[in-house]
Symmetry: C2
Subunit: 344 residues, 2 copies
C-alpha cells in the first residue's frame, strides 16, 4: 500500500527513520508491498517545506546535514506551521516526533488530536501524549479506524508494545518489572566496575547517554513515565504520574555497590507495577538489589529489559536497546509496517 507521510518535527529520530526508509526502499516494497512519499516536513527550528507530489529526501537530508534550513530546498511551499501541515497537506499519515514536554504532552498531544480530527494516521515516539492520554488516544484512533503507533516510547525499537499488542494475544499480564532507563543502568554498571557516581555520570554525559541536566534520568522520572505507559497500555489500568512511587540513584556510593557485590547481588533501578488483589495498582521506580541469577541482573550498560509476568507462560523477558537514532527511528518503521498490514 502507498502512504503519504508528513514529518512534524525533524530531529535525530525523524532523520533516523528517513535513513532507514531510503536504504530499505526496495526491501519494503518487495517484501511488504509498502511504498511511501514524504510530502511535508515542519520543524520549529529547521523550517518547513511541502510538496504534494513528494520531496526528494536525499536532498533534504543533505541540506540538514550541512546545518541549513529547509527553505534552502529548491521546490515546494515553505513556512507552513505544524498545524497547517497536518491539516492542509495531502499527507495521510503524520509522523509526530517534535520536542515535547513530557508532563503536559504538548505540543505533540495537540498535533496527534489534530491529525485524528482530519482522519489521518499517527506514528509517534513522543512519550508525553502516551503518558497523559494513551487510552483515550487509542480509543479515538480505533473508533475512526485510524492507526496510532507508539512503539518507540518504551525501549526504542525493541518491540515491547507490539509484542504485547500483536503477539502475546489472549494473555493476562499480572505484573511487569524492568530496566527502563539506559543512562542509570550505564552509571550503575560503571560503578560496579569501580567508578564513583560522579565519574560514571560524567562518562555517561560524554557518551551522550545523559543530558547536561541529568535529573530526568538519575532521579527516575524517565523510567516513571514508562511505568505509567506500560501500566495503562499493558496492564489496562489507568494511572497517572502521581500514582508512581519514585526513588532515583543519586545517593548511591561505591560502598553500597561493593557491599551488594560481596553478597552476590547487583543494584538495578527497577520500574515495576502489579495489580493488587483489590484491583488497584502498586507502581514504582525504585533501586532493587537483585540476586545475580535474576535475568535483569545480567543487563549491563545502556541496554534495557522488561519482564512480563503472564498467566500462561510465567515470566517472559525481552532485552534490547533503549535509545539511539536508528534504534528509535526503527520503532516508527515497525509502526508503519503494522499500519500497512492493517489497511492492506
Amino acid at each position: 500500500m502507498h502512504f503519504k507521510l508528513a514529518f512534524i518535527g525533524f530531529g535525530v529520530v525523524g532523520q533516523g527513520l528517513i535513513e532507514i526508509l531510503i536504504e530499505k526502499k526496495n526491501l519494503l516494497e518487495k517484501k511488504y508491498n509498502f511504498t511511501y512519499t514524504v510530502v511535508a516536513i515542519s520543524d520549529l527550528f529547521k523550517g518547513s517545506v511541502y510538496d504534494k507530489n513528494g520531496l526528494d529526501m536525499e536532498k533534504i537530508l543533505s541540506i540538514i546535514k550541512q546545518g541549513k534550513k529547509l527553505n534552502e530546498y529548491p521546490f515546494g511551499i515553505k513556512d507552513m506551521d505544524s498545524i497547517s501541515t497536518i491539516k492542509d497537506s495531502n499527507a495521510d499519515t503524520i509522523i509526530e516526533v517534535t520536542y515535547t514536554d513530557v508532563k503536559t504532552g504538548e505540543p505533540a498531544l495537540t498535533h496527534i488530536k489534530t491529525a485524528f480530527g482530519c482522519n489521518k494516521n499517527v506514528v509517534s515516539t513522543n512519550k508525553g501524549p502516551v503518558i497523559k492520554e494513551s487510552l483515550n488516544l487509542i480509543k479515538i484512533a480505533k473508533n475512526k479506524n485510524l492507526h496510532y503507533g507508539f512503539e518507540g516510547v518504551v525501549m526504542a525499537g525493541t518491540p515491547v508494545i507490539n509484542l504485547f499488542r500483536h503477539t502475546l494475544n489472549g494473555m493476562i499480564i499480572k505484573d511487569f518489572r524492568g530496566i527502563l532507563n539506559g543512562t542509570t543502568n550505564y552509571i550503575l554498571t560503571k560503578m560496579e566496575e569501580g567508578m564513583s557516581y560522579n565519574d560514571a555520570l560524567q562518562k555517561a554525559q560524554e557518551l551522550g547517554y545523559a543530558e547536561a541536566d541529568p535529573t530526568g534520568d538519575v532521579e527516575g522520572f524517565d523510567a516513571l513515565g514508562k511505568v505509567v505507559i506500560l501500566t495503562n497500555v499493558i496492564l489496562g489500568k489507568k494511572i497517572s504520574w502521581e500514582d508512581v512511587k519514585r526513588k532515583g540513584i543519586t545517593e548511591f556510593t561505591k560502598e553500597d555497590i561493593e557491599l551488594a557485590k560481596n553478597e552476590g547481588k547487583r543494584w538495578k533501578l527497577i520500574g515495576s507495577a502489579e495489580i493488587k488483589l483489590d484491583g488497584t495498582v502498586n507502581a514504582k521506580v525504585w533501586p532493587e538489589k537483585l540476586p545475580i541469577n535474576d535475568p535483569l541482573a545480567g543487563i549491563s550498560g545502556a541496554k534495557n529489559a522488561l519482564t512480563f509476568n503472564t498467566d500462561e507462560l510465567g515470566e517472559v523477558t525481552i532485552i534490547g536497546p533503549g535509545a539511539g537514532k536508528r534504534e528509535t527511528g526503527y520503532s516508527l518503521l515497525i509502526d508503519l509496517l503494522e499500519m500497512n498490514k492493517k489497511f492492506s
Copy 2:
C-alpha cells in the same frame, strides 16, 4: 470470526489448548471476536469422534482424564482416521499435534499437506514438518491464502516465530544464538550447583524434563532441529539436518563446570547460526563457555532464550519457557488469534 476446529492427535499439548479455549472463551470472544466450535478429534490411541455441530469439550476432557477412549462420548461419528477427519469433516482449521517422527516429519507432514489440499488452515506444534519443509509449506499456505502457524516449535508459547514474522518487520537478521533445550540447561544448572552429570540427569527425568532415553536432549538433537527451523524461517536460508555441527553435554564432568566457574564463566549448550560473507551458513549446536555478564549465561533451569543479531537494533533477546503443557498449548492460541486477525 468463527472457526471450526479439528484436532489431529490429542495428547497433553492439545488438551492444554482445550483447557485454555474453555477457560478463556469469553475473553477471546469479547476482546478478539474469536469464537470456535471443536467438531472433531482423531487420535491414534484415544480413538476419534466427529460431530458437525460441535463436541462438548468439557465432557471430552472428563472422558480423557478418566483414561477412557473417545468412543465413550455419547454422540457423533466414531472411528474416522486422521486423513478422513481432515478431508471429510466440516472443520476449516486443523490442529496438528500428533506424535511425529522428528526426522521424517511423518505422519504430521502428510496431515498438513492433506489439509492444505482441502483448503484448510493448519496450526501445529510439530517440529518435524517445519524442519523438513518449512519454506515449502509456508509457500503453499501463502499461495492458497491459508494460515500455517507453528509458533510452538521453538520455545513453546514464547513468541519467537511471531516476534520475527509479525513484529520485527523490516529487519535484517544476521545471526542468532540461543539456549534452545531446557533439559540440558537444567542439567548444566544443577551441575553448577554441585551435582554430578548422572544425578542431574536423573533429577531431570524425575521432573519429567528428560525422557527415559535422554539422547535427543543431551546429545543436542532437539536443539539441532530448532537451529534448522530458525535458520530456514528467520535467516531465510535453506539448510537441513546434516548441515548443522553438533556436540552434546554427555562428556561434562563436575570439574569442567568448576573450572569455568573459577574463571567467572558458565557452560551453556548454544544453538547458533550465522550467514557468512559468501552467503553460506555456519550452523551448530555446541557447548560454549560464556562470560557471566552474557545475557545467555544468566538463563538458569529449564528456561530457554534466543538472541537475534539485527541490523537496526543490534542484539535483541527473548527469554521464556521452552516446554510445558499449557505453555505449548498457548502457542497454538497465538497462532489461532493471528489467523483470526488475518481473516477478519
